[in-house]
């Protein structure tokens, strides 16, 4: 049996900048993971549906629009609805331009970790490997 780690790299909301998302997708790929990239401008409902159908271990959202406090809790909520449980077996990560004072709020709302600008991709990959939920 060869268990592969699968990651959905998601771009929720209206910002059109996905260089960061592509860099992190590439880093997950180079770490031997299978990465599904959602493409730009996805709704939380769409990302949750993708996460279920692709049966991913990780949902990593990149967001630079400033709407993270609205969109990311909604992603978590939709994931719970799609999966039919409050106990998610998916690791939810966020990255992008997210002020430190918002991190606590996001963590209270189901985001497992937030990675700001300047985080090394190696750190993100290591964190991911160490914190998988299944």
């Amino acid at each position: 049996m060869d268990r592969k780690i699968r990651v959905l790299v998601g771009k929720p909301g209206l910002d059109g900048h996905d260089r960061g998302a592509k860099v992190i997708a590439r880093s997950f790929r180079d770490a031997g993971m299978e990465v599904i990239y959602s493409g730009l401008h996805r709704t939380p409902e769409e990302l949750a549906r993708m996460a279920v159908e692709e049966d991913v271990d990780v949902v990593a959202c990149s967001i630079l629009s400033g709407a993270h406090n609205t969109l990311l809790p909604r992603v978590v909520e939709c994931l719970k609805k799609e999966k039919g449980t409050d106990e998610l077996d998916v690791l939810v990560l966020a990255g992008g331009i997210i002020p430190v004072e918002d991190v606590e709020f996001l963590k209270q709302n189901g985001v497992d970790e937030v990675f700001g600008p300047g985080t090394s991709t190696q750190d993100i990959v290591e964190y991911t490997r160490a914190n998988l939920k299944r």
């Binding site: 060869d2 790929r29 692709e54 049966d55």
Partner: protein, 318 residues
């Protein structure tokens, strides 16, 4: 309750999370997979299975997007399996088909799954045949299987699909490409996509000429022009695919294709199991190391050694 029982119950109840998990277990080669597949083989037999193949960049994913639309317009349900390549170095992959397949993501009549080829070279992943069976068991009206961008010889899809759609784009080759063996021989329906480009009509003519060389077709593959990004020509394309499926049914040729897919699945499993058996036996009793040493000393050659190992581990007791 065992994991596989949970998944099987979920498949019967048509829960999409259960189908998703079943695909993962089959792709990973989990011990739960065989129980799930046993049940899936009992449930299957309803879906029309369409293979979609062609070179990288001809617009396969965009065409899948508009085919989903056309199928849903008719009220039928559709499952999509999209295969992209794995890195030969890290085993990782970027599965990018969702970037193009943008509409109907949350439509309950659509299920989309991306697979990585995981080192398998036929244009699919090693277990795509079994994944198709899972989708069929779930009961979609159509199952679309999009291969990795293919070159000229990745023709595995013909073993599993009822109908194979070969997608091309203008300007990618002259008429010598069209008479080569391989991918052009497996099409049941051809599609020249990006047909708003200037060379499209010329390419259609070249294809038609190639197909015209054969005079005794049972089924003469039609050539359809599409502009997938605008949905143009796509309902007509779906009609042609349905026509082909109707032709197969009428001539009792569908069973032939289905039994071909059983043979392919059996063959793939036999290969894997025998190779794994011989390798693990010869590794554990040291004869693999011994064989490699003989090879490096130039005392024998690989084919002869392989025969010896097969005789030793597979023919004993027969």
């Amino acid at each position: 309750m065992y994991l596989h029982n949970q998944v099987i119950q979920g498949l019967r109840d048509r829960k999409r999370a259960a189908l998703a998990r079943a695909v993962t277990l089959v792709e990973d080669g989990s011990e739960h997979a065989q129980h799930i597949l046993e049940e899936a083989y009992r449930l299957k037999g309803r879906s029309k299975i369409i293979g979609i193949t062609g070179s990288p960049g001809v617009g396969k994913s965009t065409l899948v997007d508009s085919l989903i639309e056309a199928i849903r317009e008719r009220g039928d349900s559709v499952g999509v399996i999209a295969v992209d390549p794995s890195s030969p170095f890290t085993g990782g992959a970027i599965l990018g088909d969702r970037v193009r397949v943008r509409s109907r993501t949350t439509d309950d009549g659509v299920f989309f799954r991306s697979l990585a080829s995981r080192g398998y070279l036929g244009g699919l992943s090693r277990n795509t045949g079994d994944v198709i069976t899972l989708f069929d068991a779930f009961g979609f009206d159509y199952v679309l299987v999009e291969t990795v961008g293919t070159g000229q010889s990745e023709v595995d899809i013909m073993r599993y699909a009822h109908s194979v759609l070969v997608v091309m784009a203008p300007g990618l080759g002259d008429d010598i490409q069209a008479i080569k063996a391989g991918i052009l021989e497996i099409g049941d329906v051809f599609c020249v996509n990006k047909a708003d480009r200037p060379d499209a009509d010329r390419d259609v003519a070249v294809l038609e000429a190639m197909l015209g060389l054969n005079k005794d077709w049972q089924w003469r593959p039609p050539v359809v022009k599409t502009v997938a990004s605008q949905g143009k020509g796509v309902p007509e394309l779906l009609d042609k695919i349905d026509e082909h499926l109707g032709f197969l049914k009428q001539g009792n040729l569908l069973e032939e294709r289905v039994s071909r897919s059983y043979l392919a699945a059996l063959e793939a499993n036999l290969r894997r199991q025998t190779v794994e058996h011989v390798l693990s036996k010869s590794r554990s009793d040291g004869s693999l190391d011994c064989a490699l040493k003989q090879l490096s000393e130039g005392k024998t050659y690989p084919a002869a050694l392989a025969r010896q190992l097969v005789e030793k581990y597979l023919c004993s007791g027969v």
